[in-house]
């Protein structure tokens, strides 16, 4: 702290500390705490706030266990997000490995640019592109009909499959960059050495590349799972009443059910799920938070 004061002087230090305190208190920490506090209170009309009924309760949390539909949606959100994460990892690994270790140096800038550009494009627009592809009269049905794979157009929109397909597309870039960064730092000589010592292709990946890429895999999985579980745009556009996502249930508590306390409880459950996934991923890949910050 004295170092800060010495470097910036009293006035600037004051401004800096005030700004950081305002950001972290008013925009980050207090809202989260308020949401948690709110989630343990009953939903009451203003006249009865502070009255005898205004006590902490677990009722907003037990709702999830008693409401079979909500519980089913919650569980589906978990496995579907895990599936999205696994598929993106499988799809991205070969690309990341190629770009990081195999691709000729001349071609690399262009290839990376081709990855960066879709990354910048609005998530909603990328979802919308799949809305058009999956539509009943859309090009996917036309293609499958033309190839004779199906004999009647299929309803891809409004179901879980369409939502999962869309999520893989939208979040794939959050997997490919962490993987690329991790594999890129692997010394090519290590692969050469393994090969010279007689290791096969599969063994090189399993014993040399994958262990080295662990922090990247952890970051990629954490980001993808968090984005998938917390996604609203993709299920709202590509899903339907039969394929609701947990975030849509939360939204309904706020803006249709008019029960903010209940919505806050569900939101906190979602947050706990994501934190749980982060901790599990860190433990599974045996990396610390510090490795991720790199």
């Amino acid at each position: 702290m004295t170092e800060v004061l010495r470097r910036y002087g009293p006035v600037l230090t004051g401004v800096i500390l005030l700004a950081v305190a305002l950001w972290l208190a008013l925009l980050v920490v207090l809202p989260q705490l308020m949401m948690v506090d709110f989630s343990f209170r009953p939903s009451l009309p203003p006249s009865r706030l502070g009255g005898p009924e205004d006590v902490y309760t677990l009722r907003n949390y037990t709702t999830l266990w008693t409401n079979q539909i909500h519980l089913a949606i919650f569980l589906k959100t978990i496995w579907a997000s895990a599936l999205v994460t696994a598929v993106t990892l499988a799809v991205c690994y070969p690309v990341a490995f190629y770009l990081a270790q195999v691709a000729p140096r001349r071609r690399l800038p262009l290839l990376l640019l081709m990855l960066v550009v879709p990354f910048w494009i609005n998530e909603l627009l990328r979802t919308f592109a799949w809305y058009i592809i999956l539509a009943f009269n859309g090009p996917l049905n036309a293609l499958l009909l033309g190839l004779g794979i199906i004999d009647q157009p299929q309803r891809f929109l409004g179901g879980d499959a369409g939502v999962i397909l869309g999520m893989v597309y939208v979040y794939i870039l959050f997997m490919v960059f962490p993987l690329y960064n991790a594999i890129e730092s692997l010394d090519r000589n290590q692969i050469e050495a393994a090969r010279d010592l007689g290791a096969g292709w599969l063994r090189i990946h399993w014993r040399v590349v994958l262990p080295h890429a662990k922090p990247g895999i952890a970051v990629g999985c954490i980001m993808t799972f968090m984005l998938a579980a917390g996604s609203y745009a993709v299920p709202a556009l590509l899903g339907g009443p039969q394929s609701r996502w947990f975030t849509e249930v939360i939204y309904n508590w706020f803006f249709e059910g008019g029960n903010w306390n209940q919505g806050a409880a569900y939101a906190f459950i979602l947050l706990v799920l994501c934190i749980g996934f982060i901790l599990a991923a860190l433990r599974l890949f045996r990396v610390g938070l510090a490795d991720i910050a790199k």
């Binding site: 470097r7 989260q32 949401m35 990855l115």
Partner: protein
């Protein structure tokens, strides 16, 4: 040797499929803009038209949503960039455990689902200050995590900063204000520009957080989503095409600047060595 070649062909094939997968959906969406079909599609192709652009141009609600997005974006730049700058300046001079802890708190909004950022902001500001959803709350909610992106950009640049410059200026009698204005800030200018650009883009495309705090205001992204669900015509594709075109221009310009800057850094480093 033939196994090697087989693997190379397989890799090439995989890359073509992968990049096709990335770009083909966007191409289909763009192509549907020029189809006369009332529903945006490329199958069947009914005929070429530019009329969806004029339909978009005549859409009053689109213009007002665009206006809202621009106001919110400007607000986020004004709030998130200074906050991120202050945070990076503080972190840069801290050592030890407090730095790790502060850093974790600062990046936590990036690991929080966007809907939760929106919900916590909505609840907190209504309960504490009686503020309800609208442009102000949208700016606040978006800034809470965009400031973290700005902080990461500033921190990356500060890591390469030669603090001897500041010390020399202080030794020669400059005030702290002068040092900040004449040395630190000019050094950070490129990062300020990229942070502002990143903040604007993040704000412009945000949907999950905005949805909860927007009140009765509609940003362009929210507007597009509502059009897709009710009243979808290829005018939405025309808008998407324009936005994607602008994004690609911005992304390419940003990348070129970034790489030129990286080369300059590498050049001066090799000169120093």
């Amino acid at each position: 040797m033939s196994a090697d070649r087989f693997r190379r062909i397989l890799t090439g094939f995989y890359l073509v499929v992968f990049f096709g997968y990335l770009f083909l959906p966007l191409a289909v969406m763009a192509a549907a803009t020029f189809n006369t079909s009332r529903f945006p599609t490329v199958t069947p192709w009914l005929g070429f038209t530019l009329s969806w652009f004029s339909a978009l141009w005549a859409d009053q609600r689109m213009w007002s949503a665009l206006g809202t997005s621009l106001i919110v974006g400007a607000g986020v730049i004004a709030l998130a960039v200074p906050l991120g700058l202050a945070a990076a300046l503080l972190l840069d001079r801290l050592h030890s455990r407090s730095k790790t802890f502060l850093y974790a708190v600062m990046v936590s909004p990036l690991l929080t689902p966007g809907v939760i950022v929106g919900i916590s902001t909505l609840v907190f500001w209504r309960e504490w200050f009686g503020v309800t959803g609208g442009i102000f709350l949208t700016v606040v909610a978006q800034s809470s995590y965009i400031a973290a992106y700005a902080m990461l950009l500033f921190s990356a640049r500060l890591q390469r900063f030669d603090t001897a410059l500041e010390e020399a200026a202080l030794d020669l009698g400059a005030t702290h204000g002068q040092v900040f204005r004449r040395i630190t800030l000019p050094y950070l200018t490129p990062a300020i520009l990229s942070a502002a650009l990143l903040a604007f883009l993040q704000s412009f495309e945000n949907y999950n957080t905005t949805l909860f705090v927007r009140g009765l205001d509609t940003t362009l992204t929210v507007y597009i989503a509502s059009k897709v669900r009710t009243g979808l015509t290829p005018a939405v594709n025309a808008l998407s095409l324009i936005l994607i075109g602008l994004t690609i221009l911005g992304a390419v310009a940003y990348e070129i600047l970034r790489r030129r800057e990286a080369r300059r850094q590498a050049g001066s480093a090799s000169l120093a060595a």
